[in-house]
């Protein structure tokens, strides 16, 4: 049987996504074999900093009875000596039963899958794909509402934000209307917008958060990176106009959920944390059952 990799959400069809989410829900309700991956080793190859993704993969393998190995920091590994990723992957394939990789270069996980003899899971490749994040985003939406005939808003840096791109691609498989709000120059890339429209997705672009807030069922907020702006003043100007506050949410639909891949900086007022709309910490927690489902999918 061919080795199964998880590289891009675009490699999935809707039934595969639904099946993985059903499995994650089963795991979430504690119905799973705690020794499902007993004796299996997951190599955690992170060439970029990560808190949530890395820890939740390590937690996921531990909860299934397996163990993880890692290289520690990038400086400590042979890549720092100039070894190619292809060679690193060939070597690590001999040490583990699956590899989860985060790398600053786009397409790195696809390359890794070509050289690996064990399954590879992409945990983020530069500005590219981050399929496990997308699956947990979808899972969190599905906890609150069926992903059907809903309005989902993407807010923030939609040009470079990989989580927004992956989520938009996945949502195009469902009956979803997409709303976008982003600063000038950080809009959804044209190629992606065209791709989504070709799949029949309706996209509505907005100029202010106030005009959008009452229309949507899901508000997906992403971090605005200060370095994308010419100066601090223009950053603060945009950041304050996009900030999600309890006052803003008084105009929202009652069942609206607010998601954020975290870490957040100024995008969401901490007072929103107590609101019934806030789901971003739940979303983060969902990373474990979703990644457990993914590991079982490729390692069993």
């Amino acid at each position: 049987m061919a080795t199964r990799h998880i590289i891009s959400i675009k490699d999935f069809d809707r039934s595969e996504i639904d099946r993985l989410m059903d499995h994650a829900r089963q795991i979430d309700s504690k119905k799973y074999d705690r020794n499902a991956l007993s004796g299996k080793i997951l190599a955690v190859l992170f060439f970029e900093p990560s808190t949530r993704t890395r820890m939740s993969f390590e937690s996921a393998i531990a909860r299934l009875g397996g163990t993880s190995v890692s290289v520690g920091s990038v400086d400590a590994c042979s890549m720092a000596k100039g070894e190619t990723l292809a060679d690193t992957i060939r070597v690590v394939s001999g040490y583990a039963d699956a590899i989860v990789i985060r790398h600053p270069k786009e397409g790195a996980a696809r390359l890794a899958a070509e050289f690996a003899t064990v399954p590879v899971i992409n945990a983020g490749d530069g500005a590219g794909q981050h399929p496990s994040q997308t699956l947990l985003d979808l899972y969190t939406i599905r906890q609150s509402m069926p992903i059907d005939a809903i309005d989902v808003a993407l807010v923030g840096d939609l040009r470079y934000g990989r989580t927004a791109h992956s989520l938009a691609s996945a949502l195009s498989l469902y009956n979803v209307r997409l709303h976008t709000l982003s600063p000038t120059g950080l809009e959804l890339p044209d190629t992606l917008a065209t791709e989504l429209a070709d799949k029949g997705m309706k996209i509505v672009n907005h100029d202010t958060i106030e005009e959008m807030i009452g229309l949507v069922d899901v508000l997906y907020v992403t971090r605005l990176q200060r370095e994308r702006f010419p100066d601090s003043a223009s950053y603060f100007n945009v950041a304050s106009s996009y900030r999600i506050t309890p006052e803003l949410l008084t105009e929202a639909k009652e069942h609206l959920i607010v998601l954020h891949p975290l870490p957040r900086v100024d995008e969401i007022d901490p007072r929103v944390d107590e609101s019934p709309h806030a789901r971003y910490f739940e979303q983060s927690k969902n990373g474990v059952p979703v990644r457990m489902a993914m590991l079982m999918d490729v390692m069993q």
């Binding site: 891009s8 675009k10 190619t84 990723l85 292809a86 790398h103 600053p104 270069k105 786009e106 397409g107 790195a108 696809r110 390359l111 070509e114 490749d125 530069g126 500005a127 590219g128 794909q129 190629t191 065209t194 791709e195």
Partner: protein, 157 residues
Amino acid sequence: MTHTEAGENEGLLVRRIRNGTVIDHIEGGEALNVVKILGITGTTQEALSIATNVPSRNMGRKDIVKLTNRELSKEEVDRIALISPHASINIIRNFKVCEKKGVEIPTVIEGLVRCPNPGCISNTNEPIRSKFRVLPTGLHCHYCDWVIAKDLTSYIL
């Protein structure tokens, strides 16, 4: 029709060749890009003739490339389709057209163009060749999904 007749119709702009390949019906002005795609440079051995903006009844104007002592492979021929989908290829042996074929747009191209995305893993020292899927929207990088929708020739390796 032999390539001789084709030459005469155009006033014999370029000399007949004994053996090799004549690429006819290239979109006007694309001949130099065809040569680039074929990897022909000043340092390669082939004798090369190029006619550009030749009047053509069907195309208005067209370019012609003649390559001496080299028969193009299917893979090379199909690469030409990316910039000139109506090109026709005549394989010449002893002054006669022995094979005549059209070009087909390939589904995947490898090692021909570099990915324009500076952050793409294919632009590093990894032991891989660039790889693109050819879709109606353009060339999609196999690794990072970046799309080359226009100016393909400026990315030829």
